[in-house]
């Protein structure tokens, strides 16, 4: 995105560089959660929460805007007129919470003592922790542009426009200090012909100072329309290179998917080398780059799909009903039935799309499916047993480790495109050796046990 562009119009969706603190590691049935890959890893990543229930939509847009607030401006096509009660601001921490809760995660397991089965007569088990439970206007016409309403919402001054000609709209926006990039006029024209309204917002510095906010809070708009979609096209005009968008879908029935692009599950569940723990962010971005390339950069990736009442393992605690209501899922409050045993009435889908005009010419269109199957982007570290061993099973265990490590190296190379030799060198350096680490005296034991048999 060019500087001029990013200072001027921030189209449709834009994003956030957040510094989210890592939640302390929590024990859970599926290993120990150690790191997450939230939206802050990706440059130019926008986050949008899209709550949908049978035509009622709430779109919450978290902006990545870091410049001078007085330069901030957004122009968002919306399918219908918005009243004052349809617009609000949401605390950034609520959006960040949903981002953290759904982020792809790294978990780690510790191998049990290979001799334990013999010694204790049963398999050592991972201690299972229960999954976390749910936390409780005036009309003014300018060359075909009609200012349908003007609102003051939090730190924002907002206007709802309708227009009959794109040149009039561009002129109006320019006169009012919105910098419109070349090429946007055609896109605006297309929206105008589809009877779209335009939601435009600027920051009111006085109110911002008065309220003591240092950062711009996410804006939320709510409307009723059969159009279950997100406008991308304005954001691709003049954009330099692809942009990342994280769509966090909140629905009543089940998973959200795109209807005009393929929705593809991100590779998940793989064992990766232990050193990935120190550079999970680098691993995740490399893996995403490669996954996107493999789908010819035309796919939308599913990173998380889960009943929002619980998680396992949890990258962050589930959201409270109040937080979900604030994000536009009001149905969560009343008469929440328990589904999926302890689950809630809301389902969250995290979609990650890397888009540019060439590969994503159309706006994203969505549908809600009835699929409530859980899915998460999850990568696994398996620590070899580090204690002392004294049994024959231990030799087999140590003999099998190099193959297991080699498999991890191969997996990592395949996922990220990194050089396998370099990966193996890093693994050796971090203590994952490719020669058997069975104790030196083991031949004696081996001989002894062989005699025994």
């Amino acid at each position: 995105m060019s500087k001029a562009f990013s200072r001027g119009i921030k189209a449709a969706v834009a994003a956030v560089a957040i510094t989210t603190q890592l939640t302390p590691p929590a024990a859970a049935f599926c290993g120990f959660y150690v790191a997450k890959a939230d939206a802050s890893l990706f440059n130019k990543a926008s986050k949008v929460v899209l709550a949908w229930e049978d035509g009622k939509t709430a779109v919450t847009m978290a902006s990545d805007y870091e410049g001078d607030p007085k330069e901030f401006a957004v122009v968002i096509p919306v399918p219908s007129f918005l009243e004052r009660k349809d617009i609000s601001v949401v605390a950034m921490k609520t959006v960040d919470h949903l981002d953290a809760y759904t982020a792809p995660r790294l978990v780690e397991y510790f191998d049990p003592d290979p001799c334990a089965e013999i010694r204790d007569g049963f398999l050592a088990r991972l201690k299972a922790a229960p999954p976390s439970a749910p936390a409780a206007g005036a009309v003014q016409a300018t060359r075909g542009v009609v200012v349908e309403a003007t609102y003051a919402v939090g730190e924002y001054d907002i206007q709802i426009l309708s227009a009959s000609q794109s040149d009039g709209l561009v002129a109006y926006l320019t006169e009012n200090g919105y910098r419109i990039p070349a090429g946007a006029e055609d896109v605006l024209e297309s929206y105008i012909k589809q009877k779209t309204h335009f939601f435009i917002a600027k920051v009111n510095l006085g109110r911002m100072e008065e309220a003591g906010h240092r950062f711009l809070r996410p804006l939320q708009v709510r409307y009723e329309s059969r159009k279950f979609m997100l406008p991308l096209r304005l954001g691709t005009v003049n954009a330099q290179g692809p942009q990342d968008l994280i769509v966090l879908g909140l629905t009543h029935q089940g998973r959200v998917e795109t209807t005009n692009y393929r929705t593809v599950k991100l590779p998940t569940g793989m064992d990766v080398p232990l050193y990935v723990k120190d550079e999970f962010g680098r691993f995740y971005t490399a893996m995403f780059d490669r996954a996107a390339e493999r789908q010819d950069r035309r796919a939308v990736f599913l990173e998380y799909a889960w009943d929002i009442g619980w998680c396992d393992p949890c990258a962050a605690e589930p959201l409270s009903n109040d937080e979900l209501s604030a994000l536009g899922a009001p149905w969560i409050g009343g008469g929440a039935k328990n589904r999926n045993g302890g689950g809630s009435d809301a389902f969250v889908t995290r979609l990650h799309v890397r888009y540019d005009a060439q590969h994503f010419p159309e706006d994203l269109a969505f549908m809600e499916t009835r699929d409530r199957e859980n899915f998460q982007g999850r990568y696994v570290l398996r620590h070899p047993y580090a204690g002392k061993t004294a049994c024959r099973a231990a030799d087999d265990y140590y003999d099998a480790l190099p193959d297991r490590f080699a498999q991890e190296a191969e997996t990592l190379a395949d996922l990220t495109g990194w050089d396998e030799k370099a990966i193996k060198a890093r693994m050796e350096a971090s203590g994952q050796s490719f020669t058997s680490s069975a104790p030196e005296h083991s031949w004696i034991r081996r001989w002894f046990f062989n005699q025994d048999r």
Binding site: E189, K193, T259, N260, Y261, R262, R298, E362, M367, D371
Partner: protein, 272 residues
């Protein structure tokens, strides 16, 4: 060396094509079909055909058409419970036996079951995006389909439907001032091609004569376009086809033509 004799009945090619797609789905590229629901859909369709053939006292139980229906449902229908696929297979085949005018069934069985379940229950959906828009897949579908349609002698309606649908997409883009990339992207949709080559081209549920076939194809394209873009309906293609199929018996009376048979020498009474 004896010459290979290729079967004349187009249904064998259709079964092979759909089977190959299902195989690809299970191995190379995940289109969303799963083994157990697929099995249920095929079993439901074959079982219903067997039962209905007995009830209607048909001399033989022809399993080719219900196998095509079962495979189509496996590829297209998504549900949260596998038994819904079995139900879809039953509804599809039962509709073929029960809902008939002038000795011909009115609706494409798989299409009818899809629409009936989408509107009749809250538990099924179709995934139009999952077929992607990659050209190689489109090319493969086209190739498979041509094989089938050459045999079924109904390539014309598929091509005319695609032409009509494309014309409407380009007209819309022209009206909106959209770049050509948008209608081209919409046309590359695997789901559209699948519908054209394996659903609307069903010779048993389309007009017998060429001119009304063209009329029918255009009407389906027009209605689907309206439902998709103005009503935001996701299964627009299937709804349009099922909504308009009842006009076919009228078109057949106005434009009479020789009745289509799958085999060159049909067995007496072997239909439906």
């Amino acid at each position: 060396m004896p010459a290979i004799s290729w079967p004349k009945d187009g249904r064998y090619y259709q079964i092979a094509a759909l089977g190959l797609l299902l195989g690809l789905n299970m191995t190379l590229i995940d289109l969303g079909a799963k083994p157990l629901p697929s099995l249920f859909a095929v079993a439901g369709a074959l079982g219903t055909q067997a039962v209905c053939s007995r009830l209607w006292r048909l001399p033989t139980i022809d399993l080719r058409s219900p196998l095509i229906t079962g495979l189509s449902l496996s590829l297209l229908l998504r549900a949260d419970e596998p038994w819904l696929h079995a139900a879809a297979g039953c509804i599809a085949i039962a509709s073929k036996f029960v809902l008939r005018i002038d000795g011909k069934h009115v609706w494409n069985p798989a299409g009818f079951a899809l629409v009936a379940l989408i509107f009749g229950t809250d538990d099924v959906w179709i995934s139009p995006g999952q077929w992607g828009a990659s050209l190689w897949f489109a090319a493969l579908l086209g190739f498979l389909a041509l094989l089938v349609l050459q045999r079924a002698r109904r390539a014309d309606i598929a091509l005319f439907f695609l032409a009509s649908y494309a014309a409407l997409l380009f007209a819309r883009a022209f009206w909106l001032g959209d770049p050509l990339a948008i209608p081209l992207h919409q046309l590359e949709s695997g789901s559209l091609l699948l519908f054209a080559f394996f659903m609307i081209s069903d010779p048993k549920t389309t007009p017998e004569a060429r001119f009304p076939r063209f009329l029918f194809a255009f009407a389906v394209a027009l209605l689907a376009h309206y439902l998709a873009f103005f009503m935001q309906m996701r299964p627009a293609l299937y709804v349009a086809l099922i909504a308009l199929s009842p006009v076919n018996p009228i078109l057949d009376r106005v434009f009479p033509s020789q009745r289509f048979q799958w085999s060159a020498t049909p067995r007496q009474g072997a239909s439906p």
